[in-house]
Symmetry: C2
Subunit: 387 residues, 2 copies
């Protein structure tokens, strides 16, 4: 088992009506609050009014950063940084999904440095050691940004979707109310489920197979599969949505990654796809790339792919070679994505030709991997395969 | 799924040689360090010298609290409180197992109040809101005290083994080096494994069965069973000891208890057994009581006991009633305890007659439970059964 360091200080308030805990948390911070959200869905759902009332009742001066897009841009981050620097913001309250929270993490850390956040965190690879405190109210499930220190930002000019991590970027508190996710369109819910599955698999498909993290990962994958099947039929099944919501958080709050070398190549490929095609829903991009990627590399991690097939998908190993078992497991994963309504090809995501694939492959800059480190040529072949 | 709050800020350094992280952590605290440990095992193993050298190299003034016994006593806590109050201790460094850490938690919180810790925390049920910071170096596995806010203390005069929880009692950091556990006698290692299994089961056997916490619990139980079988044959199997060590921490760091009502009746019974017979190893007491307890209550949680049998022990449900399946699962658990060398009766633990069982049963004061709240009479019957 590999050595590791683990620490995750985020406080989670989970359950229907969990927003009642907001006022108590607000009392820990100063008066200037930046309320950050997306393109207005929270206004239709009454969440904006409810949160604003609590902020006002607590006597906060509320500033707003709105219109945060999926795949949040560097420009949006700079807009937030300007507000924070001008108004001495004490707390950033992110209300939304991973895009909103990620944008806020970059704003929170970017506001406490002299230079430009992109240059410092993404080009000079400075790890921020301080940030304005962040609280989150989650309305879209998948990224686990509500309980980790990661943020993904797209530099639209440079066509790079990059990520940074900082110990200062863990939200101080996150409010997770499964009923807040009911109004998310089914397509987005399914995209989130694919993202969850991918997060677990990116950690699972790496290293040797002697680790309780892998056992927990298999259990969580089975749990997500089971609850996803319920939720796509009945999106208002509270139990299923609760398990998916909390499962998403556990999937990437660090606990499953302990002692794992981890992979993350599918994420790196998808990030660059999204940098070129910015309307791809992140989870759908992952679902489209994953089966082709697995079929390309499975022989390098054959034992693990065999284990995945048997333990997660219940593939019977009788009278089959390890390769047949492994491929059957990958097939089951792909069939599951299809069953819940996810994309299983890039064409389904609106990409009409392969013209940019070589350039995208060249932009991926992959340096580590779970079982095999992909070259530009490898990535190009995989993209062709999942077209 | 029930609502819950989760927060666990402890920083974990895991792996062989993890003590190298100690100096870095020490720099976050003042100069007066209380080094706390048990009855000298750490001196034989060279751990004391290694830690003392790091403390000295960091320029710390070291005070010592030694001789902390298993089932640490109120008197020992008061001894530690006196040292802390007199010497303005900035950090308590607990080197040992759960008993040492628990004692330190009571010392840490008890040193920052005016009155007596037992009266305040155990009789008036005050939840401490501050404590001297604690760091731990774990040498014995089982309690997960290294990553939670719980402490169990025995009042030897009043014959009460009680526990308290405080958010201020989470260790700031814990150093987990599996090789530090190699020298623990096999009996103690097995006792720790029973404690881990019990912690998972106390959370698992409660409420409805719709929860990812249960799925993760089943995975962790299977993982512990698998690694325990390896470790009893080869106590120096690094992978097995690593999985058991980290598995113990995950078992009771709060993550498996999310949204669970939880049980804890076996722990309450064992605590009172230990209050009357203070040489019972905690995990062995749990192993002796658990199967009898389960056979007594299983009909109240039949679905869950059935699920436990099938999912954790691989019991085939074919041509069996639910009750038969449930009982077969409990039988497999008992056989596992026997197989790894745990006690499966109170007689094996040196209790020679049933004379005190009624008094012990009366002292248990059980008010909640997973499926059935035991009366004095119930407990007496269970103790008779596992004699």
């Amino acid at each position: 088992m590999n050595s590791f360091v683990f620490c995750n200080p985020t406080r989670i308030f989970f359950g229907e009506g969990a927003v009642k805990n907001l006022a108590g948390q607000l009392s820990n911070y100063g008066n200037n609050v930046l309320l950050a959200y997306g393109r207005g869905a929270i206004k239709k759902e009454g969440i904006y009014d409810a949160v604003m009332k609590i902020l006002r009742d607590c006597g906060k001066n509320v500033f707003e950063l709105s219109g945060i897009m999926s795949n949040p841009t560097a420009a949006k981050v700079r807009e937030g940084v300007a507000i924070c620097k001008e108004n001495k913001i004490d707390l950033i309250l992110a209300v939304g999904g991973g895009s909103t929270i990620d944008c806020c993490k970059a704003v929170a850390a970017g506001s406490l440095i002299e230079g430009d956040f992109w240059e410092e965190f993404f080009e000079k690879h400075m790890v921020p050691d301080k940030a304005i405190p962040i609280g989150t109210i989650l309305t879209m499930v998948g990224t686990a940004s509500e309980m980790n220190g990661n943020a993904v930002i797209t530099n639209e000019e440079k066509k790079i979707k990059g990520s940074f991590f900082s110990p200062a970027s863990y939200p101080r508190f996150s409010i997770l109310d499964p009923t807040y996710t009911y109004s998310v369109p089914q397509y987005q819910m399914v995209s989130g489920i694919c993202d969850i599955m991918s997060h677990i698999m990116e950690q699972y498909f790496s290293g040797t197979d002697d680790n309780i993290s892998d056992d927990l990962s298999e259990a969580l994958m089975k749990s997500i599969i089971k609850n996803a099947r319920i939720a796509v039929k009945n999106p208002r099944d509270y139990t299923a949505r609760s398990n998916i919501m909390w499962g998403a958080t556990v999937a990437l709050n660090g606990i499953l990654g302990c002692a794992k070398t981890q992979d993350w190549e599918v994420h790196q490929i998808e990030h660059q796809l999204a940098a070129y095609y910015d309307d791809i829903a992140h989870g759908m991009g992952l679902a489209a790339v994953t089966p082709a990627y697995f079929r390309y590399i499975y022989k390098s991690g054959l034992n693990k792919f065999r284990q995945f097939a048997v333990n997660v998908w219940g593939v019977s190993p009788e009278n089959k070679t390890d390769e047949q078992i492994a491929l059957e497991g990958i097939g089951r994963l792909e069939a599951f994505f299809k069953e819940i309504g996810a994309a299983v090809s890039l064409r389904e995501l609106g990409i009409t030709d392969k013209g940019k694939f070589d350039e995208i492959a060249g932009s991926c800059n992959i340096k580590t991997g779970g079982y095999q480190i992909l070259t530009r040529d490898d990535i190009k072949k995989i993209l062709d395969e999942c077209f």
